[in-house]
Amino acid sequence: MKQLLLLCAFFGFLNWNVISSEDTLADNYTEVEVKDGGTVVGNVKYMGDLTTLSLNLYAEWELPEISKTATEKLIVSMVNHGLKYAVVSITDITHGKKKVIPTIHPIIDQQRNTFIPHVTAIISGTAIDILNGDEELHTVHTRTIKNQPFNLGTTYKQRISKTFEYPETIKLTCDLHKKSYAWIVVLDNPYFDITDKNGYFEICDIPPGTYKFQVWHEELGKLEKEVKINPKETSNIEFIYSQY
């Protein structure tokens, strides 16, 4: 209810039948105190053929060989097949820890015609700052329907702040540099994480129970798994994508 009110204040001039309609707000998550929650740590792997990933986006960067990845779309660790930039979330959780909206805005920077980072996962209501770090014109363009879309021309050092209110998976593009784009994944509960360069993630303070865990990756799609969470215990899970 608190969120409902907040949203009302935000959309002050929306009419009432819209505000009270359930499906438009997707407000089916209740915050409770989680005392003896469990933790999930896990790994997402891609076991497909790595030699097919030929394009080297970071070719011109002065980076050590090991940190140059094959393509921005599919970043896989040569060491353990860990998949970077996969978003792991719990899809059917109805109550749990507080939704904390970060006061320091996550940043997406355009540097050398590349969006950094490539994937950002946030809780609904979070504002993201989009920067232009290049001494040339970029555009930042989204095509959402529920979250207000935007398409802005930006010059060097411009900083644009945008708040995302609705859960949606959003592609952010630049119409002048079509090779690069970024994803903004907006989720409606705080139980999610994004995998690191070795495919690891961690989700904590989960109230005991059985939940559906989902992993999303832009190229490889979705995988799901049911996991039982015991009080104060840490469970290990693994998601494996085979060849795509």
Binding site: N151, L152, G153, T155
Partner: protein, 260 residues
């Protein structure tokens, strides 16, 4: 001539709207007297749409009417709520008056004719129906129109300053070309949000889709054209700089080309 009269009327209205926008959010617009736009879908609206609009825009507003097939630009698909010609900021829905203006004025260089053969009631009656085609109008409301300051008098200097913005600061030429012919280095690869190819506007033709007045041009690059690669430059320029850029863009019109 009828056109001009209409434009003046709407133009005047919009100017008032911009000035009073901050005050009228949430209250019925004071200017409602100038133009009464129904808030509910009416029988008249449905009939008018079915007869005059659905052959192109489709029964359900998906832009897929029987005449749409080989057409480019495509008739607008209304389901995304993406309207090109607005007084509102980038990504915002249009105001009812923005929609009324497009319907009455048409879109030059496309098959969307000015619907001045219809009565004012008919033109306003379709607006709630067009909105009902998109979920966007259920969850969002149009933002207040952007402020358009008093026009700076065009001089050689304002045009020269505008040229600098066009060529150096904002690099409009990347899409529109150095001479404004719509043939910049990034022009060929542009597509709209519906996946159709789209050309950056050729300024030399002078037939601006969103209207030819300096205020129209100012609004286009300030608000952007939703659903297209044409971005909004709202954050980049002061009001004066906007007029400089407007004057330069208008100076790119080649009289010989417009008479064609």
């Amino acid at each position: 001539m009828k056109h001009k009269a209409l434009l003046n009327k709407v133009g005047l209205w919009s100017a008032t709207a911009a000035a009073s926008a901050a005050l009228v959010i949430g209250i019925a617009p004071i200017t409602a007297k100038a133009l009464t736009i129904p808030t509910e879908v009416t029988e008249e609206g449905k009939n008018t749409y079915k007869k005059y609009c659905s052959p192109c825009h489709g029964e359900e507003g998906k832009g897929d009417g029987p005449l749409a097939r080989s057409m480019l630009p495509k008739p607008r698909d209304f389901t995304r709520g993406a309207y090109k010609f607005r007084t509102t900021p980038s990504g915002s829905l249009p105001t009812d008056e923005d929609m009324y203006r497009t319907i009455s004025y048409g879109v030059p260089n496309s098959t969307m004719i000015p619907w001045d053969i219809l009565t004012e009631e008919q033109r306003t009656s379709v607006i709630p129906l067009l909105k009902s085609f998109s979920e966007a109008f259920e969850v969002r409301k149009p933002e207040a129109p952007v402020d358009v300051g008093l026009e700076v008098r065009p001089t050689e200097k304002t045009v020269a300053d505008g040229k600098k913005i066009y060529e150096e600061k904002l690099e409009c030429w990347k899409c529109h070309g150095v001479e404004g012919r719509g043939d910049g280095p990034s022009a060929a690869e542009q597509e709209d949000d519906f996946g159709f190819p789209i050309k950056p506007f050729d300024f030399t033709t002078g037939k601006f889709k969103g209207g030819n007045s300096s205020r129209d041009v100012y609004l286009r690059f300030t608000t952007g054209l939703n659903g297209t690669p044409m971005p909004s430059f709202a954050k980049e320029l002061t009001d004066e700089q906007r007029w400089y850029l407007t004057h330069y863009v208008i100076s790119l019109i080649k009289p010989e080309e417009t008479s064609k």
